[in-house]
Amino acid sequence: MKRFLTALLFFVALLWLWHFLVDSGRWSAMLLPDPADVGKYLISAVKDGTLLETTWVTMKRLLIGYFAGIVVGIPLGLLTARFLWAHDTIGTLALGLQTLPSVCWVPLALMWFGQTEAAMFFVVIMGTMWSVVISTDNGVRSVPPIYARAARTMGSNGWHTWLRVILPAALPFIVSGVKQGWAFAWRSLMAAEIYVTILTGFGLGHLLHYGRELHAMDQVIGVMLVIVAIGLLADKVLFAPWEAFLHRRWGTQRN
């Protein structure tokens, strides 16, 4: 409760400071709108449906692309950890492409898929997949061999060992890779949406972009707040349960 109050106080103070700066009149309201105006914009955008619609478009791209990236990434990571040839080929490719900021895929994606959803999925998948491959590979390599041997004496073999021993043993690594993949995917999707118009759907990035075009700073800041909120929500909904599980089972320190 005390922690909650401290946090609440901090954010109220922050809003007040913002309001105070606007009130001082040193900046034009065009550049720095009052927090109340941003609030008004957010309420009207929720009421007329634009906010929910754009959020839905963006989240659909993100979630579909993200889960596709994980579904492809984990098996590839297992493959690179299991076979030397896969490590030398796919593993090296993953390592290289992971260093490429995923927004760099946008031009290529637009050329290949046009201004469509497919291009957005592609960018998100590229952002997610490589870090998932690498973390899965690292995770599997760091599994103590004694786990697999113990499992073998209990009659575990082949697929069973991979699914029931190696994969769960590598889970701490995989979760951190999946989380990093999320960060990459989210950033690259926002960049792509701000950067190009996608004909098949109008997302949050576009709303932000058009806010600038219309000189509607309340809209720009309002959308930024929504983007922050989605990031926080994703952390709470997607990752916090896994991290809590790892923390409980492994006894690792929560960060």
Binding site: P144, I146, Y147, R149, A150, A151, R152, T153, M154, G155, S156, H160, R164, V165, P168, A169, L171, R248, R249, W250, G251
Partner: protein
């Protein structure tokens, strides 16, 4: 007879014959002769302790009995049948705790049982609980592995290896990393459990007193290459107390022999 009772019924213990086994390891250009013409018979329900310095191939021999490694020459036989792979009939309990951190105590004990066909999940649960109770951890079945002390972890490991009702139990220095107090308690518990669940046991240790306390027979190994040097039958009454003077006498005798072999090897 229902499945649980059948599952918990004693299985006939197995007789192990290690028949002229030799093993080499290659790492790069270095070739290590791990075991040289080792022959050993372990009778049904016998508790045999293998003692010797590091590098004498004890663990290698255990791995072969477990079916995790194959002999280069000779063979390991269980009831006259050659061991060609790992199997539930021979369960191994490891040096360091090889428990799975992503599973609870119950999950760990269930792991091997889930691989055993012909049982319902509720029956597996009942069997697992029986063994958890046997090692005295019934209050901890939901606990996570990291929450347990070293001694409790090895109790879980023991329950896990007993749960599929193996005919042979292979133990690779299971108590090496525990403190003396915990170890002493586990010596007592292991003897009680062994009386309740008769198994043929092959037990590796560095600790001569431990071997004398637990074993019907102590087999002395010497290193480079690993060979069987001498065997001692221990006829002390059970349960044995690690601190009893008669046990210490046996231990002294075996330690003396161990030193002699080492000196011979050094010359």
């Amino acid at each position: 007879m229902n499945h649980v009772a059948a599952e918990l019924a004693p299985v006939p213990c197995a007789k192990l014959v290690i028949d002229h086994v030799s093993k080499w390891f290659h790492s790069g250009v270095v070739k290590t002769h791990a075991l040289d013409d080792v022959s050993l018979t372990v009778d049904e329900a016998e508790f045999v302790c293998l003692v010797g310095p590091s590098g004498c191939g004890k663990s290698t021999l255990l791995n072969m009995i477990a079916g995790l490694e194959m002999a280069d020459q000779g063979s390991v036989l269980m009831d006259g049948k050659k061991v060609v792979g790992s199997g539930r009939e021979r369960m191994m309990m490891f040096q360091e705790s090889a428990l799975f951190p992503w599973l609870s105590v119950l999950g760990n004990v269930l792991f091997g049982l889930k691989l055993k066909p012909g049982l319902k999940d509720s029956e597996r649960l009942e069997v697992a609980r029986y063994y958890i109770k046997l090692v005295g951890l019934e209050r901890y079945e939901r606990a996570n592995i990291h929450e347990l002390s070293g001694g409790m972890k090895q109790r879980v490991a023991l329950a896990r290896s007993l749960a599929p009702n193996p005919r042979v139990l292979i133990m690779d220095e299971p108590f090496a990393s525990l403190d003396a107090m915990t170890r002493e308690q586990l010596y007592g518990d292991l003897q009680t459990i062994w009386a309740a669940r008769k198994k043929t046991i092959v037990f590796v240790t560095h600790n001569v007193r431990e071997a004398v306390c637990l074993g019907d027979r102590v087999v002395l190994f010497s290193p480079n290459p690993g060979r069987v040097r001498e065997q001692f039958r221990i006829d002390l009454p059970r349960p044995r107390d690690i601190n009893s003077p008669s046990l210490a006498e046996h231990a002294t005798e075996i330690t003396r022999a161990l030193k002699q072999h080492r000196e011979v090897a050094a010359e």
